[in-house]
Amino acid sequence: MVADVSIPIDPIRFLAPDGELCATAPAREIAAELALTLYRAMARTRAYDGKAVALQRTGKLGTFASALGQEAIGVGVGAAMRKEDVLAPSYRDHAAQLLRGISMVENLVYWGGDERGSDFAVPRADFPICVPVGTQIAHATGAAYAFALRRETRVAVTIIGDGGTSTGDFYSALNMAGVWRVPLVVVVNNNQWAISTPCSRETAAQTLAHKAVAAGVDGVRVDGNDAIAMHHVAARALDKARGGGGPTLIEALSYRLGDHTTADDATRYRDPDVVRREATREPLSRLRSHLTKRGLWNEDAEAKLMRDNAEEVERAVEAYLATPPQSFSAMFDHLFAQLPANMRDQYEEARRFAPNGARHG
């Protein structure tokens, strides 16, 4: 007897890089509304993303992790989720976050070095951005357990990088989720790089989807630059989870077109020719070509979208820059539900040394 762990290596793909429908696509036609929604969300993300990088360059924002070229992953997943589902994102997942209702201002406030950026107005139950790589998988597993225990039809979704799949946390939490069969979807953004470390130095596994085998959960590969396929695969996994079918690991293949973060300089360690080649597969132009070929999109629509996005981003930046600083007491206000009495002295010390009219970032 031989185990059945056949995970196709060829990723699921509906749209070829030139926007043509692939022969392998299950549907003959892709719903126009969905395609337009995904395209708009990606364009919105990219507009925001570019501005955030620019703000950092001019000293108005802290370190920022661009999602350039990987917008389809977050957008596909975010669009497939329901409001009541919960996302446990990494630091590169504003595509999904924005789609879920987290505002640009919140994201800027966070990267601007202010905790209030994680106090999302909506969705209230989403986890804040997770920086310690891999740790968020366990949070999502626990959240999924809570949903199952309470018989809620909610799904926990978490996103992690290719490098993150080397961590013990990724595996041990996925393994736990497998035993518990909780409603969980783990998305790997395989953008090929963990800072300067290529995927080949992270693992000898045939694909990252194969990591699922060790946890006894389903693994699937998808073209992460194809928003339609991404959405389809995510929706399928979410449905399965909601129906009690347990966790899925989705490896979404993409490429990090930008630096790791604004603190990084990727030209130090990678070949610009490869980056240029990868850029030709990027998700926005792909879906735009598709929409254009189908007559669903044109230059005017594009120009208007660009304008709208630019305006929205501009308003967000203004609101961000106008955000008054927190007072010293922010350090103490939410440490516990109630500040222990023995910390009163420290609070007073902080007050005493707080600058008058603390300035902006």
Binding site: G142, N175, M176, D333, L335
Partner: protein
């Protein structure tokens, strides 16, 4: 009221809260049918079901992380780590997440979890089963650290820990699990989580201890009483947040302080208490503060364990020296 051992008191507190609050659940290795390696969860899976008393895979980091996710979604997970020497893999989740989820989200999410673990030496256990990492945990902002010293305090403090809206590390002195019984009211009354207890009153010197060491301190006080030295003995109980006022008041009265700590000396929690005295007791200290602690060595295996641990002899000698230094 019935007489219970400390581990039975823990069991009773867990049962009480599982009964009272649907959001409470237990999570750990071998806590189900087996009732935990020390039987702290005995009978609870039978009573409350597999979904609320969960045998988890062997992965402390994932257990702690999953508990954080559960807590963030409104459950009140109580994690059992089999021995405190195996909680190190969970420290990343405790420090980087559990302790700061409320702060990071400005109160939007919180982490009302309890992490319990048997702590300390004294039962001739195998390697890595005798650790005392409480000082490390007490250093972490956003965590509470509680160590009971008797069945009734275990019961009342654990109730408080479970009801606390923030993460609490609850370290149970292994050596006390079955050392003695005590009447424990089944009244659901929690004890405060920010108070030291005066376990014995006295006027000559203050002994400060917690967990297993409290009993060595009390025994030393008994012996010293025969010599005419009258010790006050304080059970710290909640290390974080520390009730420094009770300690200071006692030392103001006695003028002398000996701190007893099982963990290795350097940067142990005793240092924090000594620092408190250096900062705020200078004008009424009659003699230098003393720490009687484990040495700065790896805690030895069973055959040398007793030579590592603070003993009644060592504590009594320290108090005598303190008396002499100020006579």
């Amino acid at each position: 009221m019935t007489e219970l051992t400390l581990v039975e008191a823990v069991n009773r507190a867990l049962a009480h809260e599982l009964e009272r609050d649907d959001a409470v659940l237990l999570l750990g290795e071998d806590i189900g049918v087996n009732g935990g390696v020390f039987r702290a969860t005995l009978g609870l899976q039978q009573r409350f079901g597999c979904e609320r008393v969960i045998d988890a895979p062997l992965a402390e980091a994932a257990i702690a992380g999953a508990a954080i996710g559960m807590a963030a979604m409104g459950l009140k997970p109580i994690v059992e780590i089999q021995f405190s020497g195996f909680l190190y893999p969970a420290m990343d989740q405790l420090i980087n997440h559990a302790s700061r989820l409320r702060h990071r989200t400005r109160g939007r999410l919180s982490c009302p979890m309890v992490l319990r673990a048997p702590n300390g030496a004294g039962i001739h256990a195998p390697e890595h089963h005798s650790e005392s990492p409480e000082a490390m945990l007490a250093h972490v902002p956003g965590l509470r650290v509680v160590i009971p010293s008797s069945p009734s305090r275990a019961y009342g403090l654990l109730l408080a820990a479970i009801r606390d809206p923030d993460p609490v590390v609850f370290l149970e002195p292994t050596r006390l699990y079955r050392l003695f019984k005590q009447e424990v009211a089944e009244d659901g009354e929690a004890l405060p989580l920010d108070t030291c207890f005066i376990s014995r009153e006295g006027r000559d010197a203050t002994l400060v201890a917690w967990g297993g060491m409290l009993h060595e301190a009390l025994a030393a006080a008994d012996r010293l009483a025969e010599e005419g030295i009258d010790c006050e003995v304080i059970d710290v109980a909640t290390l974080k947040p520390l009730d420094g006022e009770t300690i200071l008041r006692s030392v103001e009265k006695t003028g002398r302080c000996v701190i007893v700590q099982e963990a290795a000396r350097t940067a142990g929690f005793g240092a924090e208490i000594a620092a408190l005295l250096a900062e705020r007791a200078l004008y009424f200290l009659l003699a230098p503060v003393k720490r009687v602690t484990g040495y700065d060595v790896v805690i030895p295996l069973a055959r040398l364990e007793n030579q590592y641990l603070p003993s009644v002899d060592r504590i009594a000698a320290a108090v005598r020296e303190t008396m002499e230094a100020s006579s």
